[in-house]
Amino acid sequence: MENIKRDVEKIWKTSIDSIETLGSLEDVKKFYSTNLGKNSNLSTILKSISKLTVTERKEVGQFANQVKTDISNSLKQKEDKLKQALYDKEDSEIIDTTIPGSQLNIGKDLNIGSIHPISAMIKLIEDTFAVYGFEIAEGPEIETDWFCFQALNIPIGHPARDMQDTFYIKEDELLPRTHTSSVQIRTMQEHTPPIRIIAPGKVYRNENSDPRHSFMFYQFEGLVIDESSNLKDLASVLQGALKKIFNDDSIKLRIRNSYFPFTEPSIEIDCSCIFCSMKGCNVCSYKGWLELLGAGMVHPQVLRNVNIDPNKYQGFAFGTGIERLVMIKDRINDTRLFYENDIRFLSQFKNI
């Protein structure tokens, strides 16, 4: 037993000495594998104690473990020292940050990059609706309860709040907006009719991710307020716009009844499937129709909330998920791909 103890002691001394002489992080790694790893001398010795008696085994085992911990600690200290030295050295390296970047003859070896499909779709939406006189409007992503719910005819405690799973920063006060409809309110508060806007942006819902859901996604919202725009105008504008967005002149719309607290009447708009001409295919789940947008005539209560006279003005609003449009157009079947940011996915969007 004494022999074994002496061997361990010897390893201890030589290890501590040689740790001192290690010069690089590379050396530290090597030292670890030869002296503390599975096939190190120390491990071999520890394996041999099985021949000893129980009390001896306990004594040697405890001692060897102490030694092992001590060596590891010393090695860790050395590693930290070396790291710090490396950081210090790197910190002492100086580059001239004033060299004008636009004249540098570098980076030419990079292939052309790509625009994220969501950005590309937002641009397409912007350009398409601009033709019909819609301007881009934006609002904050972290909204007050008033702009996101109350002004939109969803008072605190209203069951319609269950339609959207909300994250809260402060309950019933401040939240990451659940829809871009909040921008409607901001726009109507700041401008007098006629109003014609498109509001794209991020929205947030507290629902678990799956191929069709993501807790963050993009929506766009359209709003028209004037003295005469009605459901027919809404359908006509959307049909015209969708023809451009999907690059298909044969598109037809179908309108179904729906419910949103901030529109009355509320409708859902489906568009004829652009892949099968309504014959039925897997994109439209063999229905011939693609569910696309929620829409409706702006509720008079919403107009009253922003001090617009509902007896004089009326108008419509519509909105949908931007990912949904991209997924249909580019036949992508998992919404999570948009936020995984895998270059192998992104580099396929060569539509700069």
Partner: protein
């Protein structure tokens, strides 16, 4: 919510023909409520036929199997079965090879050498019950003559008895609750049936419910503490109850509607609820009172009052809850869930049956605070007509008297504390209908649609005067009537044309415009645009050495996403680390908001542009990023170039970073990411990042491009190479190189490396001189260069040498 069309049939016409039925459901989905799913019950349809076991013997190679020959009229088929109850002469339901049961296709199967061409079904497999211990025994030939199972080979469905068939043969539609959250009336078959009747222009017949007849004394004292919470309370007691399984037709209907049958009393209250939309509750009298005199209080819960609810969970109540209570204790959370202690069980002999009208908002608040979503809450929170309270009690009593041994033992208690709505009258300007919907609807149709929805109406001049029944709590103003008219008349009648909107000029959104430009510029420089989540976690911040205080989300989806990010840097470094194994060199970039704490309620949102250059081998990544940044500056045509001065902080290398300014305003930072941070993220390579606030860049764009003249005389190019110490910088050097004839100073080469000292940089500049008046003279340029050199030497002394 599930709706039974066989139950709807009790109110209005539902076609038997499958095609007509599905067309109707389609119309209903378009005009009323979206339908998520349609299910047929029982779902064996034409796939199950009647057979007779003609022969039976034990399987040679399997102890528990029997091989049978089953007569299906035209032929005998071989079926292998494991059912212990099979016998010769047994009449059985059979599914043949190629047919389906419960959505599963039956195929020919080989059981250890014996082929089986079908399956004999158990009660459970048929969806008729829970028994799965053997094949459903339809009797034998002798039984056949009695029960009418006469034709072997005919459809099972046709032989299950008419009354039974009408109940178990059902079409269940699952409707989308979300789109009816304003319509409490549709959380009932009564309400849905009204929609069906209207859509198909068929009459609607109200259920005839016999009012309770009783000459018993009043044994119930009810106190309602808060009129605002409870506006009507009806109750009655019933004795001689024998609690047992409820009749087959009730169980079957409830099961099809996804409600678990419990016992005759509870099932009847549930049946009335799905039928009329009014939740009811039954208490065991013996458990709430020592004698037959009862005292009930509807009151606010006391803080920390405890009750165990029917789901056997102990609930600690707050002032947000309302309870139904006796003198001593609460026996249920009002409108939410009953108490376990007063539950109906096998020993119950006498019940107190309650039907009440509660304030929707307060029930919702109460339910939320104890986190219960019961069928009762689902309905109460939407609003239930006050006139239903007594009607539902009447119906429940009727069903109890018809289907159980129960006998009425009290008078009817009916307390109205607050008459909620008188019938609302709305005047609708007829011309507004077309103005809003954009389609012309004949006045007769308009009137009929409203009438069919139980909205009485008459025309008075240019107006339609409509009386809204109190079940339609959602109709409050004229626009609500227009929606009813529009959806039922059919939006397919809107004549969609080419857009015909008045021309309006569109102002460009300058902020958006800049985003689009930047996105295109970086993409063309090789960047991949990314979109990362706005939410991050503290660990990612720590790894990035970013110490900004981030705003917390109260109810994060997971601990990985519990902060609003105050910086884009952690997300981008994380994305780089995920991509490093896919490509050796790349640029990622993103435009997104960061959220900063401030004194207002709303955080300050800043729009940032971040870009990262990663390379496994290329040195000095800094300049790759700087090239991108300065190129953006050029192509956005900004009023001034970006200035790079002062060192940036973490997570950058101190001396390989810089703050960025434009027109003296700080906008962000650029730098190489320090080894410590790279190590934290497991990044092996060089990484440089810039992160700038682009909120105000649109204010710094030149309206015009300033065009310089071009000289007719030949220009002269002169290259000079300067070796300078990194104590000084190139910007200062370039600032000192001036001449009236100097057109451009272009960098054509930069060298750092082994041929010069480590603190030195060699730079070759191409100076282009031009003259608008004449050709340069022979020595003129040399003099200019000499002059420039001497100015540089004077200014930078030993720190500069020329090559």
């Amino acid at each position: 919510m599930k709706i039974s069309l066989s139950l709807i049939k009790e109110y209005t016409y539902i076609p038997d023909n499958k095609k007509s039925l599905y067309d109707l459901i389609d119309e209903f989905a378009k005009k009323s409520v979206d339908v998520d799913e349609i299910r047929e019950y029982p779902n064996f349809g034409e796939d199950i036929i009647i057979g007779e076991v003609k022969e039976i013997y034990k399987h040679k190679n399997a102890d528990r199997l029997y091989v049978t020959k089953v007569d299906i009229k035209d032929k005998e088929i071989q079926i292998v079965t494991g059912a212990p109850n099979v016998y010769k002469g047994m009449i059985v339901p059979v599914v043949l090879e190629g047919s389906e049961i419960n959505g599963q296709k039956i195929e020919k199967h080989d059981f250890r050498g014996e082929a089986s061409y079908g399956m004999m079904c158990s009660e459970k497999e048929l969806g008729l019950g829970e028994n799965h211990s053997g094949i459903l025994d339809l009797g034998s030939r002798s039984f056949e003559s009695r029960s009418g199972y006469k034709s072997i080979g005919s459809l099972f469905t046709d032989h299950i008895g008419e009354s039974l068939q009408s109940i178990i043969k059902d079409t269940i539609i699952d409707i989308d609750n979300k789109v009816i959250s304003q319509r409490g009336d549709l959380f009932s078959h009564h309400g849905i049936a009204r929609e069906f009747a209207t859509i198909e222009h068929k009459p609607f017949s109200e259920r005839i419910i016999t009012p309770i007849k009783t000459n018993k004394r009043n044994n119930l004292k009810v106190t309602i503490e808060d009129k605002n919470f409870c506006n009507r309370y009806c109750a009655i007691t019933i004795d001689n109850i024998k609690v047992e399984e409820s009749p087959f037709w009730i169980r079957e209907r409830l099961k099809n509607l996804g409600i678990k049958p419990i016992n005759n009393i509870v099932d009847i209250t549930n049946y009335v609820m799905v039928n009329l939309g009014q939740p009811l509750h039954a208490f065991d009298v013996s458990k709430i009172s020592e004698n037959t005199d009862l005292e009930i209080k509807v009151r606010k819960a006391k803080q920390n009052e405890e009750i165990t609810t029917l789901d056997s969970k102990k609930r600690v109540l707050t002032k947000n809850n309302y309870v139904i209570a006796t003198k001593n204790k609460s026996i249920g959370i009002a409108g939410v869930m009953g108490g376990k202690e007063s539950e109906i069980d096998e020993s119950t002999q006498s019940i107190l049956l309650e039907s009440a009208s509660f304030n929707p908002l307060l029930v919702r608040k109460s339910a939320k605070s104890v986190n219960i979503r019961s069928e009762a809450v689902l309905r109460y929170e939407k609003g239930i007509s006050q006139s239903l309270t007594l009607k539902a009690l009447n119906y429940a009593v009727e069903l109890i008297l018809q289907n159980t041994t129960g006998e009425i033992s009290s008078s009817v208690t009916d307390i109205v504390t607050n008459k909620v709505v008188a019938d609302l009258i709305i005047k609708l300007d007829i011309s507004k209908i077309e103005k809003v919907l954009g389609m012309e609807i004949p006045l007769k149709d308009t009137s009929n649609i409203l009438a069919s929805l139980n909205i009485k109406n008459k025309q008075v001049g240019n107006f339609m005067v409509a009386t809204i029944p109190d079940e339609r709590l959602d109709i409050k103003e004229d626009i609500d009537l227009i929606e009813e008219i529009g959806r039922i008349y059919g939006y397919e009648n809107i004549d969609i044309e080419e857009p015909n909107m008045k021309v309006m000029s569109v102002r460009k959104n300058v902020v958006f415009d800049i985003n689009n430009k930047i996105i295109s510029i970086i993409a063309s420089l090789g960047g991949y645009e990314i979109k990362t989540y706005s939410f991050i976690n503290q660990d990612l911040m720590n790894k990035s050495l970013i110490e900004t205080d981030a705003i917390k989300i109260l109810n994060p989806i997971s601990p990985d996403f519990d902060l609003l990010r105050p910086s884009l840097i952690p997300s981008v470094i994380y994305t780089v680390s995920n991509n490093q194994r896919h490509k050796d060199t790349f640029i990622l970039y993103e435009i997104a908001n960061v959220y900063l704490k401030n004194n207002d309620l709303q955080p300050k949102e800043e729009r940032h542009l971040i870009a990262a250059y990663f390379s496994k081998d290329k040195e000095e990544p800094f300049f790759y990023m700087k090239r991108v940044l300065d190129t953006i500056n050029t192509y956005l045509n900004l009023t001034n170039i970006f200035e790079y001065r002062n060192k940036a902080e973490k997570p950058f290398f101190k001396n390989k970073s810089s703050k960025i300014y434009i027109d003296g305003d700080y906008i962000g930072e650029i730098g190489d990411i320090s080894s410590a941070v790279k190590e934290n993220f497991g990044i092996y390579g060089n990484l440089s990042i810039f992160d700038i606030n682009i909120d105000n860049l649109h204010n710094k764009i030149n309206k015009f491009i300033s065009i310089k003249d071009i000289s007719k005389f030949p220009e002269i190019k002169e290259d000079i190479t300067i070796l300078y110490k990194n104590k000084i910088n190139l910007k200062d050097i370039l600032d000192k190189i001036n001449d009236t004839n100097l057109r451009t100073k272009e960098i054509i080469d930069i060298y750092k490396g082994s041929k010069i000292n480590t603190d030195e940089i060699s730079i070759t500049l191409r100076l282009i001189f031009e003259n608008f008046e004449r050709t340069f003279l022979g020595t003129e340029i040399k003099e200019k260069i000499d002059n420039i050199k001497s100015i540089l030497s004077e200014n930078f002394k030993d720190n500069i040498t020329f090559r």
